[in-house]
C-alpha cells in the first residue's frame, strides 16, 4: 500500500512532471491561455499515459532491449491517434483548440520518460497508477496555470466572463513564461516547506522513540541492579557462590538498547 501511496505522491507533488521535473513544457506554455485547454490537454495526456504504461509494462519482457524506444513510440502513437479520433468525433471544439499539440503528445517527454523509467521496469498495476497520478499532476498544473492566465489575460474563467479588466501580457508567449516561472517558484517553495515539515515531524518522532528506548534501558538496568542486590543477599544467607552474569547480561542489554537509541 505504501508503494502506491508513494507513486501517487510522486506523480502529483514530489515529482510533478510540469512543475518539478519541468517536462512537457511546450504544451504547457502554448495551451494554457485557457483553463479548458489545460483540462483537455491534461486528460488527453493522462489517457495516453495510462494506456501506454499498461501496454509497455505488459510487454516489457517481450520487447527486446535494442528496439524498446521504437516500440514505445509505436505504442504511444497508437493511443495518441485514438485520442485524436475520439476528440474529433465527440469534442470537436477541444480538438480544434488543442490543434497541433495533440499529435505532438507522441513525442511528449513525460510519456516517453515514464515508459522508459517506470513502465518498462514495474508491474502493470503500478505502471497504471504511475500513469494516472503523473497525468493528474500534469492536468492540475496545466489547469491552474490556464485558470490564472485566463483570469488575468481574458477576464474570464472556463469561458465565464468575470470582468472587463484584461492584461494582454498574460495571453502572450512572454506571459506564459512569466506565469510558468512564478508557478515553479511557488511550487518549489511550498514543496520545500512540506518536505521540511515532514522532516521535522520524522525527527520529532525519532527523538520520542530515542527517549522511550533510553527510559526503557534505564528501567531495565535499575531492575537488574535490584535483582543483583537480591541475589547477593540470598547468596550471603545461603553461603552459595553467586551465579555469573545476571547483572552483567542486563547491563549489556541496556548498553545495546542505549546504542539503538
Amino acid at each position: 500500500m505504501n508503494k502506491y501511496r508513494k507513486i501517487a505522491l510522486d506523480g502529483v507533488i514530489t515529482s510533478n512532471p510540469t512543475l518539478k521535473l519541468v517536462l512537457g513544457t511546450c504544451p504547457t506554455l502554448a495551451l494554457t491561455t485557457l483553463a479548458m485547454n489545460g483540462i483537455g490537454m491534461g486528460l488527453a495526456v493522462t489517457f495516453v499515459l495510462i494506456c501506454s504504461n499498461v501496454i509497455i509494462s505488459a510487454l516489457r519482457k517481450v520487447i527486446p532491449e535494442q528496439v524498446r524506444i521504437p516500440a514505445f513510440v509505436l505504442i504511444i502513437a497508437t493511443f495518441v491517434t485514438i485520442v485524436r479520433l475520439v476528440l474529433d468525433k465527440l469534442l470537436p471544439d477541444i480538438y480544434e483548440s488543442l490543434g497541433l499539440y495533440l499529435p505532438l503528445i507522441v513525442v511528449n517527454c513525460i510519456i516517453l520518460a515514464r515508459a522508459e523509467s517506470f513502465a518498462s521496469k514495474n508491474n502493470i498495476l503500478a505502471s497504471a497508477c504511475d500513469g494516472l497520478f503523473m497525468g493528474i499532476g500534469f492536468t492540475l498544473a496545466l489547469t491552474l496555470m490556464g485558470a490564472v492566465r485566463e483570469i488575468l489575460g481574458a477576464g474570464s474563467i472556463f469561458g465565464i466572463v468575470l470582468w472587463d479588466f484584461q492584461i494582454g501580457f498574460f495571453s502572450s508567449s512572454a506571459g506564459a513564461f512569466f506565469t510558468y516561472a512564478i508557478f515553479i517558484a511557488l511550487f518549489g517553495m511550498s514543496a520545500s516547506q512540506i518536505s521540511k515539515r515532514r522532516k521535522l515531524k520524522n525527527y520529532s518522532a525519532l527523538q520520542a522513540e530515542k527517549h522511550r528506548l533510553a527510559e526503557e534501558a534505564v528501567n531495565n538496568s535499575a531492575e537488574a541492579e535490584q535483582s543483583d542486590a537480591c541475589a547477593a543477599k540470598t547468596d550471603n544467607l545461603n553461603g552459595t557462590p553467586r551465579a555469573f552474569g545476571s547483572g552483567t547480561l542486563n547491563d549489556s542489554a541496556a548498553g545495546e538498547l542505549k546504542k539503538e537509541a
Partner: protein
C-alpha cells in the same frame, strides 16, 4: 537459416512488426467507427455560424463538392482560389471557399456567410474551417477575420477592390504570417468575384 530465426535481429523485427500490425488493425476499426463525414463537418460549421443546428436541404444546395448530385459537385475555380460549397440558409448565402498561395503554396479554407440587407450583399460572419501547411494559422483569432467584413460586395467587385495581404489591416502584423494572410484574403476574394459575377 535456423540461426537467423533465433537471432536478436529476427526477434526485434518480429516484435515491431507484430505491434505495428495490431496497432494498424485497431486504428483501422476505430477510424471506421469514429470517422467524421463531410456532411457532419458541414453541419458543424453551419451550427457554429448560426448558433444552432440547421439542416441543409437538397434544394438549398447550389454547389457542394461532397454532394450525391453530380451536377453540383464541380467546384468553381479562380486563379487565386476556389469555391467548394454554396448553400442558401435562411435567405443568406453560405460559402465554403479555399484560398490559394499561402505559406509553402498551402491553402486556407473558410466559411463565409453573405447576407442581403437593404438590397446590398454584405459579408456577415467568417470562420476558419481548415488549412494546409500554414504553421502559424492557429494564431489567427476570430478578430482577424472580422477585418474582412464588407459593406457592399458588389461595389467592391466593380471597383476591383480585392483584399491583399499588403493592405495593412489584413496583413496580420501580430504574427507576420503574410503568406497565410494572403491565402485568407484569396478565400474571401473568391466570394467577391463570385458575387460580382452572379449577384443577380
Amino acid at each position: 537459416m535456423a540461426k537467423f530465426f533465433h537471432s536478436v535481429w529476427f526477434r526485434c523485427i518480429s516484435v515491431l512488426l507484430i505491434i505495428s500490425v495490431i496497432s494498424g488493425g485497431l486504428l483501422a476499426v476505430l477510424n471506421d467507427i469514429l470517422y467524421v463525414t463531410a456532411a457532419e463537418r458541414t453541419a458543424r460549421a453551419v451550427a457554429k455560424i448560426y448558433g444552432k443546428a440547421i439542416p441543409v436541404e437538397e434544394e438549398n444546395i447550389i454547389l457542394d463538392v461532397d454532394s450525391e448530385n453530380p451536377d453540383k459537385t464541380t467546384p468553381i475555380e479562380y486563379e487565386f482560389g476556389r469555391i467548394d460549397k454554396i448553400f442558401i440558409i435562411n435567405d443568406d448565402l453560405l460559402f465554403q471557399t479555399v484560398g490559394y498561395n499561402g505559406y509553402k503554396n498551402g491553402t486556407v479554407t473558410l466559411w463565409i456567410k453573405v447576407i442581403l440587407q437593404d438590397g446590398v450583399y454584405k459579408t456577415d460572419k467568417i470562420i476558419l474551417e481548415t488549412y494546409t501547411k500554414q504553421t502559424l494559422m492557429s494564431k489567427f483569432g476570430d478578430s482577424y477575420f472580422e477585418g474582412f467584413k464588407l459593406t457592399d460586395i458588389t461595389e467592391s467587385y466593380e471597383n476591383g477592390d480585392y483584399f491583399t495581404s499588403e493592405t495593412g489591416v489584413n496583413s496580420n502584423p501580430n504574427t507576420g504570417a503574410t503568406f497565410s494572410a494572403n491565402a485568407c484574403c484569396n478565400a474571401v476574394n473568391c466570394v467577391i468575384k463570385y458575387m460580382g459575377e452572379n449577384h443577380e
